[in-house]
Point group: C2
Chain length 125, copies 2
Amino acid sequence: MFQIDRFGRTPIYEQIIDQTQRLIASGILKEGDQLPSVRALSQELSVNPNTLQKAYSELERRGLCVSAPGNGRFVTADAFRLVGEGTKERLEELKKIAEELCAAGMPEDQVLHAVNVAYGKETDA
Amino acid sequence: MFQIDRFGRTPIYEQIIDQTQRLIASGILKEGDQLPSVRALSQELSVNPNTLQKAYSELERRGLCVSAPGNGRFVTADAFRLVGEGTKERLEELKKIAEELCAAGMPEDQVLHAVNVAYGKETDA
DNA sequence: GTAGTGTACTATCCGTTATAGTACACTTGA
DNA sequence: TCAAGTGTACTATAACGGATAGTACACTAC
């Protein structure tokens, strides 16, 4: 369910946050679904429970999940809408890179093509 | 000439590298132009000279500038072409974000629109 | 010769990340 | 009731990267 890259610069707890958000955004995790427990996931990924606790706390702070002590941790009803709002920021990042590429003299065609490939509308020629 | 963000997670030396590359890519820095000296820039930005030295060494390693000890540091003839190759990687980043947005269910129109805005083809509606 | 340039090196401080270990409260279900 | 599994809280520590401080030396231009 989760893939951890131990060599990149992105901290593990942040990778967990990102990936959970994507699972929600893509509908794989829905309202009411239970997230893996800190202990179980800690074994599966060979990661310290505290690290996962940190990630889950942040997800909870963002309103994507709630904890039921003694029971588990579950995706909230608002989760899907909330991560949807988050994608606006990602779009801004994309725009920023596009501006840079424009400034660097890259033709717009190539950028549009890349987007089409990402959306499966064109093949990567 | 340079803008440092001391609060973000991107290290200062990396910001210097990025910004120098952009200045070259956009043609503001041309072949033969002298880069600010480590000492001068260190005062202007209130940054340790060693940090700037680190950035400049990396730029040199990438072939974007050469040092003339006792004289200064200058943009190479290949610099423009080399940063042009670097933009391919940036395009890959953009594509990756586009894939995420696709997975998150954002309509492709919005992404294409963002690119058009970045290229000045459309206004930010 | 002086001023300004690049270069090299050591040492230190600090924040973030991740880990280890422990303890406690809660809920579920046999 | 009690055991197992859940979340939570806390302290302590190690490791790493980034940035700084300070010093010293070699080179070039004027």
